[in-house]
Symmetry: C2
Subunit: 191 residues, 2 copies
């Protein structure tokens, strides 16, 4: 988490200076490993979202760009190969987390790469992915300030169908809140 915040904010310190010189980057240590080893929200999008919050004008805009950031995280094959020229482990296996959960992201990468969660390779993979999230945040911020930001992430057709009844004040049941893919945890709960 701290690395994602730092990657964005240190650039802003260099290019703009104050008030980004005041951002307490060490205050974002807590988000690593999905907080306290719980594997909930991946620290990389948690930190990238925190960094975007410093730059954007309102909660509504923060929510829009964060929606997109988490959607991108869920559906993108990571880590990118943009780190290969300097990374300790270039050419690593890429995998799609399917959600913004650290637990899913790490477990799927371990399965597809064959490396253990405690391995140096896994740590390098998460470091690269953190850089990728920071870069995505900057891309989203640049698009926003160029007047070119548009939501592009769409949930799967199945999840959209679930949301139609369960999510939102105009839905029939209005009894849930998420954009995570429903099927991995719930299967087909109506069969």
């Amino acid at each position: 988490m701290k690395a994602a915040v730092g990657a964005v904010i240190l650039q802003l310190r260099d290019k703009i200076g104050f008030p980004y010189t005041m951002v307490p980057i060490d205050a974002y240590m807590y988000g690593g490993a999905g907080i306290g080893g719980w594997g909930v929200l991946c620290g990389a999008p948690n930190g990238a979202a925190a960094a975007m919050n410093y730059v954007l004008p309102s909660r509504a805009v923060v929510d829009e760009l964060c929606y997109e950031l988490l959607g991108w995280y869920a559906e993108t094959s990571l880590p990118s190969n943009l780190h290969d020229s300097y990374a300790k482990y270039p050419g690593q296996t890429q995998s799609v987390a399917g959600s913004p959960l650290c637990h899913a992201s790490v477990s799927i990468w371990c399965r597809e790469s064959g490396f253990g969660e405690s391995s140096a390779e896994r740590k390098d993979r998460c470091a690269k992915l953190t850089g990728d999230c920071a870069a995505k945040a900057v891309e989203l911020l640049n698009a926003y300030f160029d007047g070119k930001f548009a939501k592009t992430y769409k949930v799967s057709a199945t999840t959209a169908s679930c949301q139609g009844c369960h999510v939102g004040k105009d839905s029939m049941l209005d009894n849930s809140l998420t954009h995570m893919d429903c099927t991995p945890c719930h299967g087909d709960p109506h069969k």
Copy 2:
């Protein structure tokens, strides 16, 4: 998220002053609704963890107290009734989220209370729960600085059995990372 950060940090501003006067509380708007409506990590523990990070001496200690905070969140019937003397909706239904996920926390409360996610009652419930998380963070911090903090949260026996093979460098497979309860999403994957 912002409310949990503020509840802790504004107390520290009043009682100690600098450096807590420098904490950018508005920088924590982004964590509401599990970030961008995604329902991933509940913003209340995200903010309470962020607040604890400002006070504690190292990442290792932050991780220990955050582990406990998220465990408490997962297993505690919330919101507490400590808000009843001033709340708009006193005596609300309490429910156990079973995980630190906003999605689970909100959906289970909606099911048990009968109120919609978009209802004013649900918003009041989440506001109270945010106060409860801030109070828990203060309780953990006080215990730590009194030398009385001890980890008490234990995962379920089933999850401990799963972790025995899947989580940690000394486990057979070392291919996952979480303290979330395995059964709600995975059932019995070995049957």
